[in-house]
């Protein structure tokens, strides 16, 4: 009881100053009573509806501030690349959602289940480093389906682009008729500084896939095979887990979601900016009584 004695003495000295009546306590006590009833109701509802998000909604007052919670969408690294919808049914008993989104930037901040929507990454070409085998448990979020039915059209790339014989394709880049939002001018494609163009990565024979340097078809899910063929050092770091993002388990050999190259970098603009610029989350609150000006140019300990 050292702490008790210490605090007792502390309180004797400063008690008069510190002792406060806490009006919040009464109200809190009432809240508790209310919430217990709700909790019971919620429990009953959950028993009835095992794995449905309606269990949470059955007790409407438990989450009054988020009536549209189920409709909320947020993105992962790049806006427009991987969007997730907030669902409230990961573990109905605890009532937490699959993801939590930032109200400021709309980015995913929190994962209820890091493997939600993932599938095994599959085989990785051997590379001769010691991490061979560490991808046995690797999962990725598949991108191929999303890219096939790209942006609103709900059509696969191959609908507009029937397979072409690579041999009959023109050898020179020409002005794009479509997709100028992706690449404004293929003659000035920044990726590779003019050394490569669309069909160095996109498979002319099957537009729903990519192609590697040897002419082998590569799925959009395995874009790292294409990227890695030029960026060997980064690819090696990525395989070791030193480059790029992973979520899941920290243990070596643990189940991890590997983030593939194009989940963080837009290959068409990567030379302008490695990462798409994003809006930052808001700054911390200023200490009470301080104004913005007090901190202009202040050093890191100015806020103490």
């Amino acid at each position: 009881m050292r702490a008790a004695v210490f605090y007792g003495l502390f309180a004797v000295v400063t008690g008069g100053l510190l002792l406060q009546n806490m009006p919040g306590e009464e109200a809190a006590a009432q809240d508790v009573t209310q919430e217990v009833t709700q909790d019971a109701a919620q429990d009953a509802a959950q028993d009835a509806v095992q794995d449905d998000s309606s269990a949470v909604q059955a007790a409407p007052d438990t989450a009054p501030a988020t009536p549209d919670a189920t409709a909320e969408e947020c993105f992962e690294s790049i806006k427009g690349t991987t969007e997730l919808s907030k669902k409230n049914n990961v573990v109905p008993k605890y009532g937490y959602p699959n993801v939590k989104c930032s109200p400021t930037t709309g980015a995913v901040l929190w994962y209820g289940d890091p493997y939600d929507g993932t599938e095994p990454m599959g085989e990785m070409p051997s590379y001769g480093d010691k991490t061979d085998g560490d991808f046995a448990e690797a999962v990725i979020r598949p991108r191929a389906e999303h890219l096939k039915t790209i942006i609103q059209t709900n059509m696969q790339c191959s609908v507009c682009h029937p397979s072409a014989d690579p041999a009959t394709l023109p050898n020179d880049p020409r002005q794009l008729m479509m997709h100028q939002d992706i690449v404004s001018d293929p003659q000035n494609l920044q990726h590779g500084r003019g050394a490569i163009w669309c069909f160095d990565c996109h498979n002319a024979a099957n537009r729903d896939a990519l192609v590697d340097q040897q002419g082998q078809e590569v799925s959009f899910d395995a874009s790292y095979k294409v990227c890695g063929s030029c960026h060997g050092d980064l690819y090696s770091d990525w395989r070791m887990g030193l480059h790029g993002k992973r979520t899941g388990e920290w243990k070596v050999g643990g189940k991890k979601r590997w983030w593939t190259c194009t989940e963080c970098h837009n290959p068409h603009t990567v030379q302008e900016h490695r990462f798409q610029p994003i809006k930052p989350e808001p700054p911390p609150a200023l200490p009470r009584g301080m104004s913005e000006d007090d901190f202009k140019g202040a050093d890191e300990h100015g806020g103490h």
Partner: protein, 354 residues
């Protein structure tokens, strides 16, 4: 602990509470001790105690010993008590885990400052995961913004903050500057930055959180050992044992500790109900808190929340004792430094560059 046993104990505690007249009043250890102290000073101790501690839950919490000294049975009891309280308070099923520290693990962290874009997603993710108070807002991670390059030795900056006429002569001796006005620009960092977009040109970002020092000054400074180092090298706090003296905050060279000046406000719908006794369970007013590398997650094998939130993968986490782990590979292959190395705190938090 089995459900039945836990339930029966809850019921018992509730009954105890009813005997005293009111089963709902919450009273924390420090409220009780405050009153006891004052009461003792006024020499009317006995009636004051009986009237203000009418509840078994608060009694149990008040006389709870240090977590490390508790027997298993005491721990179970304390945890059941907390689970019941949080479940009621937040209106959702809350667990307070007591997952033990895994064997043969020393947790380490590596952060790539060449990659960090200063987006503060890590900060927000930490708040959401660790049930930090939204108002007054508490954040365990700070992201500092610095100008690129070191301008200290440019003549123009050399005299920044110096008196106009230099009493020491014209030897370039720095005599100006004060706490809010640095001399020169070296090391100048700002954490209230708010640009439209990040990353900005000419800025680098430097996130700081608890460094989980091997030789932690905060632990040495704590008069009651409420903060201590867990077997995995994470410095933790027994919030129930913390007396709120803030000695650790003063001792920490990394500005890593936060104090709950007010009653923490945590919206029910935003509360994370998966908690750990030493990690992210809701705190009370008057206690210290800090980053624990998301102890509730990492003891179950998961990455900390900031690692999962960082959109650029600047954050790496793993077992320093395993040469194949991501942190060890960073240490082996990258340019690595530790913050404020001269303090000999031996952080397990490393900064690196490609």
């Amino acid at each position: 602990m089995s459900e039945d046993k836990r339930k029966s104990e809850m019921v018992k505690e509730q009954d105890d509470g009813k005997e005293q007249g009111n089963g709902k009043v919450k009273e924390s250890r420090r409220d009780f001790l405050k009153k006891m102290g004052v009461a003792a000073a006024a020499t009317v101790a006995a009636p004051a105690i009986t009237s203000t501690t009418a509840e078994a839950v608060s009694l149990g919490e008040t006389f709870q010993t240090h977590f490390e000294l508790m027997s298993d049975a005491q721990k179970e009891k304390a945890i059941a008590r907390l689970e019941k309280r949080y479940t009621e308070q937040f209106g959702k099923q809350t667990t307070v885990a007591n997952t033990p520290a895994p064997d043969g693990v020393l947790f380490g962290y590596a952060l790539n400052i060449a990659k960090c874009i200063g987006c503060r997603r890590c900060v927000e993710a930490c708040v959401k995961e660790n049930n930090q108070s939204r108002d007054p807002a508490i954040q365990w991670i700070r992201v500092l913004r610095m100008e690129r390059g070191n301008d200290t030795f440019e003549l123009e900056n050399l005299h920044k903050g110096s008196p106009d006429s230099n009493s020491l002569g014209d030897y370039g001796i720095q005599s100006g500057g004060h706490a809010d006005k640095h001399v020169g620009l070296s090391g100048a960092a700002e954490h209230y930055y708010e640009p439209e977009q990040v990353p900005e040109d000419n800025a680098i970002y430097f996130p700081v959180q608890c460094h989980q020092c091997e030789d932690p000054p905060c632990v040495k400074a704590c008069p009651v050992r409420a903060t201590f180092r867990d077997p995995n090298g994470i410095v933790v706090i027994d919030y129930n044992w913390c007396i709120g003296c803030r000695m650790c905050q003063l001792a920490c060279p990394y500005w890593a500790r936060r104090f709950n000046w007010g009653e923490p406000e945590l919206p029910n719908e935003d509360m994370n109900p998966k908690t750990h006794y030493l990690g992210n369970r809701p705190r009370m007013r008057g206690v210290m808190e800090k980053c624990t590398f998301c102890l509730q997650r990492v003891r179950e094998g998961r990455y900390p929340a900031c690692v999962e939130a960082c959109p650029v993968g600047a954050r790496k986490f793993g077992n320093l004792l395993d040469p194949e782990s991501e942190v060890r590979k960073v240490l082996a292959t990258k340019k690595v430094f530790r913050f404020k190395e001269a303090f000999n705190t031996d952080p397990k938090f490393f900064y690196y560059m490609d």
